[in-house]
Amino acid sequence: MTARYSIFSLVKNALSYHENWQQAWHSPEPKKQYDAVIVGGGGHGLVTAYYLAKEHGLRNIAVIERGWLGGGNTGRNTTIVRSNYMWDQSAALYEHSLKLWENMTRELNFNVMFSQRSVLNLAHTLNEVRITKRRINSNRLNGIDSEWLEPEDVKREVPIIDLRGGGRYPVMGGSIQRRAGTARHDAVAWGYARACSEMGVDIIQQCAVEGFDIEGGQVTGVRTSKGHIKTNKVGLVVAGHCGVLANMAGFKLPVNSRPLQALVSEPVKPIVHNVVMAGAVHAYISQSDKGELVIGAGTDAYNGYSQWGSNPVTEDTLAAICELYPLFKRMRMLRQWGGVVDTCPDASPIIGLSPVKGMYLNCGWGTGGFKATPGSGHIFADTVANNRPHPIAAPFALDRFRTGFLIDEHAAAGVAH
């Protein structure tokens, strides 16, 4: 039985110098056979296992992670959570998620530090003003909170901003979603891992999937660096590596993998209380509870699996940040890193069945899947358990690239995390 976290457990463990905390999850050796195997121990994979166990009664399941839990994009992102996407299909998906975020800490008994500090999306050009207003209207029709801000409202929200943008990036207004915000990314992975483990899900780290057994078009097993596992259900939730695993299974995906980078500055006193995004210039900031500015940059212009990203991209982002927030010019950056993101042509994910029977896809989240973590896992578990797409997942099927029913959030909502 996993002990509950509370003020009492905190006090009790303080008395023994925090040396006796129970492990949050078990690390068993893989069994010979599972009813379902989830490949990828990021947020989406863990949530999938969580709901498979909790809502679909599958307990003999495993999450297989090559590195460590949340060591992929889950632990590398800038943690922006919002649901103000434009198209109906996306609105349904991301709003479903946002609702689950609002109760996540309580549900998991694990503080994921979900902070609804609001997200601003700045508009720098006339075209952006128009598309932003159109998106706000579409958000509202879908019951998603979204408001237009005039430049002076932006200034009131973010007093340190230079509305002239140094002359180069004038702020012509923006949208705000007040229910949006940030969360503690690795806590999300740890919280779900703990809840999974408690329900008997095997969480296996340091174990790479290296191939699949496929008989007559049906998956029958997974070959891993820790041996062979029999299973008839496999969920692929490996983000930037979806192409590599699809290749093992003998099909191709409409995905290009590219490094996306982020940076954090030295810590300073509280200075920005919301998340401020500027899609046109690829500069996003928020401030962590430790006081660091968390800055998101753009993706590399070319495919890559290196987890660092290219210098010109960092340079462009920092240049834009300095124009928008002149007082940050003297700020020093502490760390920079990258994650390999799985970008789709329409900037929407792929959730559903694959060309191989018993194998299911959850990928293509690209630069923006953290916000979708709980909702994605929820509808994907339903898809995996019932061998048909959940209604929210249905429009995001791989087949849309054949039928032409793309969900183009690139053009609609602008590229953003």
Binding site: R66, G243, L253, P254, V255, S257, Y302, N303, Y305, P312
Partner: protein, 97 residues
């Protein structure tokens, strides 16, 4: 920062170039005659290789010509470049899990 050897101008830094994705994809002669699946394959499906990758680049801020590059997408090592229509250089192909 990649250093890309343009076959016409020599080695320059990556920000002089633009990317054209996977090389050696052949556009169907008669798009109106292929099936939707074949067309989707041409338009959208990607090898997305982790390892030795053949890709197209254009020297936007230079000679403005298209050419191909062989690069390792994990290590970013550039093995060489070749003109459109030429055979790629022989390299020790690698893929990673």
């Amino acid at each position: 920062m990649l250093r890309i050897p343009c076959p016409y101008c020599g080695e320059r830094t990556e920000n002089e170039f633009s990317y054209g994705g996977e090389a050696h994809k052949v556009r169907p002669e008669r798009p109106e005659e292929v099936s939707d699946a074949q067309w989707a394959d041409y338009l959208f499906l990607q090898k997305n290789t982790k390892g030795t990758f053949y890709e197209r680049w254009v020297h936007t801020y230079g000679c403005r010509r298209w050419f191909n590059v062989v690069r390792d997408t994990l290590t970013n090592e550039v093995h060489g470049s070749y003109k459109m229509g030429e055979e790629p250089p022989k390299v020790d192909e690698k893929t990673y899990v």
